[in-house]
Amino acid sequence: MNRFMQKSKTFFSRSILKDTFNRDILTLLIVSIVIGSILASALAMSANAYFSSTLNNLVGDYGEYDLVLQVREEMKDDASAQVQKIINDAFPGGRMKLGPTITGKTNIFVALPHEYKTKQVYETLDKTFGGIPGGASVGVVTEPRLTIRGVPDGAKNMLMDKVMTIDGVGFVFRDGSSIGVILTSLDKTTAVNKQIEELLKEYQIMEISFPVGSEPSNPIRMGEAIASDMKSQLNLDYVENVSIDGQNDDMTHLVSTMMELKRFLSAYASQIVIAPANGAELQKGDVVVFQGQAAQAPIAGNPVDKGNVVVQITGLRPDGAGEGVITQGDTTGLTSNQGFKLEKNVVAAFVGTASYHNPRQELSGALNETTKLVGEIPGFAQDTKKVSDIALNALNNYDSSVSAVEKTVNSIQAASDGIQAATNGLARIDTTSMQYQIANSSRAIGGLMNTMQVVGLVGGDTAGTVTNLGDTQRNLDGLQSNLVALNDVAANARSANSAIDTIVANGSSTVATLKAFDAAGARNSLTSATAKLGQVQQLNVPLITTQLQYLATAAPNLKDEEISHSVQIMDKFIAGQVIPGERIQILTKRNISSDAVAPIVYQQVGHQNVSLYAADLGVIEPNARGELYQILKEVQAILAAMMAIIATILFLALDHSAIMTVIRRRRLVSKVKVTGWRGLLARIAITFTAPERQYGMAIGAVMLTAMFVISGAGIPYLPWLGVPFLGALLGLIVANYAEKISPISAEEVTAGEALGLSFDEVMREIVVPNARPGLLQKLNRRKLKFK
């Protein structure tokens, strides 16, 4: 580094401070740069002045006017008179100028007094100048201003409020689809521009686009739902659905209502399903004709009859069946389900059979049934109340009834004990053995009787005995019978005892259950129910009936064709409004990615067939005049660049080519020629290392760069770093052709050297005077010994 510095110092002291040819070259370079820069600047400024003057003639001086109205040329007199009248009435102190006519349109410039430069005035310009004849369009040309474009309508208010708070902003207004920002002074432009850019960078628009056929029925509500979910699920501070223009509430509501109405009508439109016939295929958009009320079925080749029912296919099911809506006629007129395709407005082949579902009929039926039901309500309520009263009465006696039952059960229990005690003895009697003994005794008495009878026959007086025996036997038989009866009584006593035990057990359980029942609660409920039944009885059933009947009549009493046409008309209306059905826009801060929002969107939409991307809130654009001036500045820079390039080429060719030639000659004399591959390499290397080329590149780079800097030149798409490279390239090219551009006499140079002339003297006395006439020659003249 020190060595380089030392060399530079030496070169400077020897070559620059002294009167050397190097100093001549430096002088030449400086003068060339100055002249080139002056030329470039002069050309650029002349062009700029010319174009600026032309522009100012067209649109007035910068900031002189605020509005420009364009009217048809033939109406300009009437229009200007009208404009003057409006100025006098609405903007006293304002002035007007009739501008040039371009392509049949005459410009009228209007300058507004300062007090009328307000948001309110600017946003109502269309109304103010709406009556100007000649189809006037109003443009704002107030300066200084900035324009923000691309801001969704729904986000404009928020942005305008924030921009309004920036220092240097006079006011903000809606300018068509853009936001106009009028500044208080020109020097605030950069600062305001920067702050608005920062503001725009702070926010982003999450835009959800729906493909055709997948549009939500009400994007406004869906947008609000998505925004709400984003706020809650992603814990965001600021989320707003800006799919709509918050400024235009009436229109928003109207469109929203239209959307709901469309959905309502669509819900009650008959849904036709056409099962395609064998070999037939249905496509979305196909039109199918049914006989309807026509006298005969559609005939191939005939046009559609007025009585025919016409269905347009709006969708296809996976099985190939087509879903459609009726565009002519009504489902009630579908007398035949045989459908024929309509091709080129004439009936074609049989295409399938139709089935349909008419929600309007179903609604009507449901309403009729409901009306009937409502008619039965008063009687039903009365009966129910009676039952309720009875039940309530029963419940009121419930406790005493339960006590009575308990007492009864206790009595039964006591009775059971008595019976048990009474029957216990009987139960223990062995009547069987007694019966057996009595039977044996009876049989013995019988035998004795027989015997006594025989004895009697034999002679004995046995009759009394036999009678006694007979009585005894009868008594015994009677006793046996009694024993049997006694045995039954004992069995019955045991059975009765058991039954009583069961009764008592059941009774106790029942009593327990009865006691567990919340009779008081039931009473309260029943009391409440009774009261409500009373209210039901108070219902104005006739009114309900009337309303139901009204509802039945209020349901869309439209033919299907009328519904279809209405939906089409509503579609056209909605599509023409600011709320695009296929797009939802959510305004958020920048700190959330679309990936994070996607799941919420998919969940709300119900499918993933949407496009979701994040976009800038808006961009700042220079105004039209600013753009023109910007273009003029670019043209100025380009012209300056062209001039600088031309000047560089000229200076290189006229002045420096002779120097390059001398340097080249000296190189060729001192260098030893090589051949073969070394020669090839040498030639390649020498392209950039040859001293005359290095000289050319250095001079070209310095000269062009300096001229660019001084004259403010520039070339679109050429970065500043490219300028010295371009200059070096020009120098290289000139160096390559230096000897052809500026041939010098080698003999003269050799003679000079042989005479002991220095390089400087050779250059000044021999080379330069013989070179191409240029600046160097002019500068060299003062150094010439032999002029």
Binding site: V672, T675, E747, E748, T750, A751, A754, L755, G756
Partner: protein, 257 residues
């Protein structure tokens, strides 16, 4: 005065000077001769470093010219006059300005330079052509201006690089006459590259014959051309004999001289 030793110069594959030794004494006129391309002009141009040799040494008045710095070299060149084959006059200058050029650049004021230049031009018989531009003069006159330019510097050594080679035979004579006159009354040494055998025979103190970049023979003209030791010398002898035999010219079979 001038002593060249081991001088070599190569152009690409061509060895123009090959280890050459040469000496020129004070006031001596040396004719450097040889076939075309043998390295005569290259040799004479290396003496004042119009061509830089590859190696060797050139001593002039005890100073090694090859070791001189640019400033010293320029001073040295003023002591060595050079007459070119193609005159090498500066076209834009008049004859006298061409002669003055070296003087003025050497530091002389213009008036003195003019006087000296005019004096030099008088020596070559061109005093009346002082204001002519080279383009207005014949080749012989131009060469005489070139000679005057070299003479004006009053050099210690005059180098002549085939001064008549570009001239037609009639103009050659006027130049040779000037050269012979200069040689007669010279105070400086002369090294003359020439093909003019008669001039060499009449004027040169010594003849040096070169071939293929080397000195092949040198000596007094009578020795070199009468008893040549080299092939080139023999060729020159044959040429001289041929020219002597044909010196009596005939025209239509009749001897006219």
């Amino acid at each position: 005065m001038l002593s060249i030793k081991n001088l070599s110069k190569q152009f690409g594959q061509v060895l123009a000077i090959n280890d050459l030794d040469l000496h020129v004494g004070h006031g001596e006129t040396v004719a450097l001769m040889g076939p075309s391309g043998c390295g005569k002009s290259t040799t004479i141009r290396t003496i004042n470093r119009l061509i830089e040799p590859d190696k060797g040494s050139i001593q002039f008045d005890g100073v090694d010219i090859l070791q001189l710095m640019p400033d010293q070299l320029r001073a040295m060149r003023k002591k060595i006059g050079f007459v070119f084959q193609h005159f090498n006059l500066v076209d834009r200058l008049t004859a006298v300005e061409n002669v003055m050029l070296g003087l003025v650049m050497g530091g002389l004021d213009k008036e003195q330079a003019y006087d000296k230049a005019l004096e030099a031009m008088t020596k070559v018989g061109l005093e009346s052509y002082h204001s002519h531009k080279p383009s207005e003069m014949s080749g012989g006159q131009q060469q005489r201006v070139g000679i005057a330019r070299a003479l004006a510097l009053n050099p210690d050594l005059m180098l002549w690089d085939e001064p008549t080679a570009s001239l037609d035979p009639i103009l050659v004579r006027e130049v040779l006459v000037v050269m012979e006159e200069l040689a007669k009354y010279r105070q400086s040494a002369m090294l003359v590259v020439t093909h003019e055998i008669s001039f060499a025979l009449r004027v040169a103190d010594r003849i040096v014959l070169m071939d293929k970049g080397k000195v092949v023979e040198e000596g007094k003209p009578s020795d070199v051309f009468v008893k040549p030791q080299s092939e080139v010398g023999r060729q020159y002898k044959e040429l001289i004999e041929y020219q002597m035999n044909t010196s009596a010219l005939t025209l239509a079979g009749k001897k006219i001289a």
